[in-house]
Symmetry: D2
Subunit: 164 residues, 4 copies
Amino acid sequence: MAYINIENRDKAIKMLSNRGVTLRDIAEITHTIQVRYYDDLTVEECVRNILKVVEKTEVQNVIFTGIALDELCEKGLLPEPLSELVDNDNSLYGVDEILALGIVNVYGSIGLTNFGYVDREKIGIIGVVDKIGKQPNKCMTFLDDIIGAIAAAAASRIAHNRLN
Amino acid sequence: MAYINIENRDKAIKMLSNRGVTLRDIAEITHTIQVRYYDDLTVEECVRNILKVVEKTEVQNVIFTGIALDELCEKGLLPEPLSELVDNDNSLYGVDEILALGIVNVYGSIGLTNFGYVDREKIGIIGVVDKIGKQPNKCMTFLDDIIGAIAAAAASRIAHNRLN
Amino acid sequence: MAYINIENRDKAIKMLSNRGVTLRDIAEITHTIQVRYYDDLTVEECVRNILKVVEKTEVQNVIFTGIALDELCEKGLLPEPLSELVDNDNSLYGVDEILALGIVNVYGSIGLTNFGYVDREKIGIIGVVDKIGKQPNKCMTFLDDIIGAIAAAAASRIAHNRLN
Amino acid sequence: MAYINIENRDKAIKMLSNRGVTLRDIAEITHTIQVRYYDDLTVEECVRNILKVVEKTEVQNVIFTGIALDELCEKGLLPEPLSELVDNDNSLYGVDEILALGIVNVYGSIGLTNFGYVDREKIGIIGVVDKIGKQPNKCMTFLDDIIGAIAAAAASRIAHNRLN
């Protein structure tokens, strides 16, 4: 497909990395949930699929927007009542899930189940990020859903490639 | 809210019941996932919330459509290749998740995580339905996602009511 | 991308054609809405993009499901109250739009606006299909939304290709 | 329904008003698109329905988030490349539509068509906001989609109330 924006892909990867998250961290989540279906699946194959997911413009745009909101929250630059809703990851604030859906949907609805599962069970790096987000002056409200969505999208991508 | 269609609500409940699923079965899923947040939550409160979810026109329409597809599949009335995709709950067939999203969304995106979790872990009656669906001449492809979506929607509804 | 199911693509195209809709008909809708942005856009380029959209598993699955529901409705094989809701394209029945969203989302949310526009304005073949659906014993409730969604997805695809 | 947050409703209305948009402006869009179905529909009935839409937590959260992003963009506080994507309302940037979907979905998918239509045709205040957003140092990228989504959600609400 022609519509790959390499420059923005690299910016998105850097933004994740600045928040302490590597593509390999996300690939490990995908591996954890998919290895029970494909026992020859390696973390390397998952990394390659994560990279393909992050090439998509829609995915990049969600990463740019969500991480910016987390960082602006940490810097005290969000207005009220948004600042409080985001800072506490208020349980009725669902905009982080809405954005994540924008990533999952690009690879079809079969990713929904995996997204919900890894998000709730806080698999791998999601659990780490979640704990950091609870520290004072730290906000990871959007990041954990973004990670879960990328991992689930890669899982869908692997299922599509293996089954067709 | 004025827009409650009681007649269709009762038809939807009957349709679920004809497939072996009571509102209490679904309420027990909601209870399982929410009791860790609200330790005074009873199955009865969950039943009342399930009932409210099933009053919504959108929810009824998804129930009517999804269960009809399962039943038509069992009767051999779906054309190919749809029949095979639905009968085997093909892992790339995501229309059941798309329909379920139509239920979850009515109570906002905070239900997404719970939907994915109960669907993957096959909590309660979902596990029962899933096993029946694997028997010859049985099809429960849409039903399990519908149950998970109603349970997740009720969980969101409870969260909204408790927190506001 | 590896995950192209050519056999199902051809079945989906045949199913559309059996309902009186060619890929060129859909391409003309895409052309109508996009030529004002790209004045060198030809209907042929739109046809090529429609073909790429129809290669996607998710899109094929929605086509199979939606057209089956229309045809089962015409044959009197849908149970009540679904039959009446679908036959009259009841204005509160939104499952056709939910399914269409499953097509639009694959190319990202920028397709939403175009989908809503062509669906409401009944551009090109959508208007023809809509009129046929109003005849006795005819049902095109899902088909018109499917056409609009494919046309909108192709418009998004063209925008992605031209702008990156 | 119990889950109405009046305090946040009023904050959301004030935030819209600070950006130059009244509930009556949005109600007039709803009236424009629905009066052809209900010729006794008044702008006042539309205002009452808009008010009900804005009582929903999900809708408030999207308003808080979207308008904050527009305002942070105007103040030069968004990081690159997000700042440029939002400032120019880049045609591949679809996060504004993703957020709007979070509003439309609360009243079901029948709102999708109206959302797409009013957004593309820039009905009423949407056209005004769109023009202001093109001025230097002004950003209305999220606001126009939010307005269209609220207007479409109110149209769905009216349809539900009238038809049941």
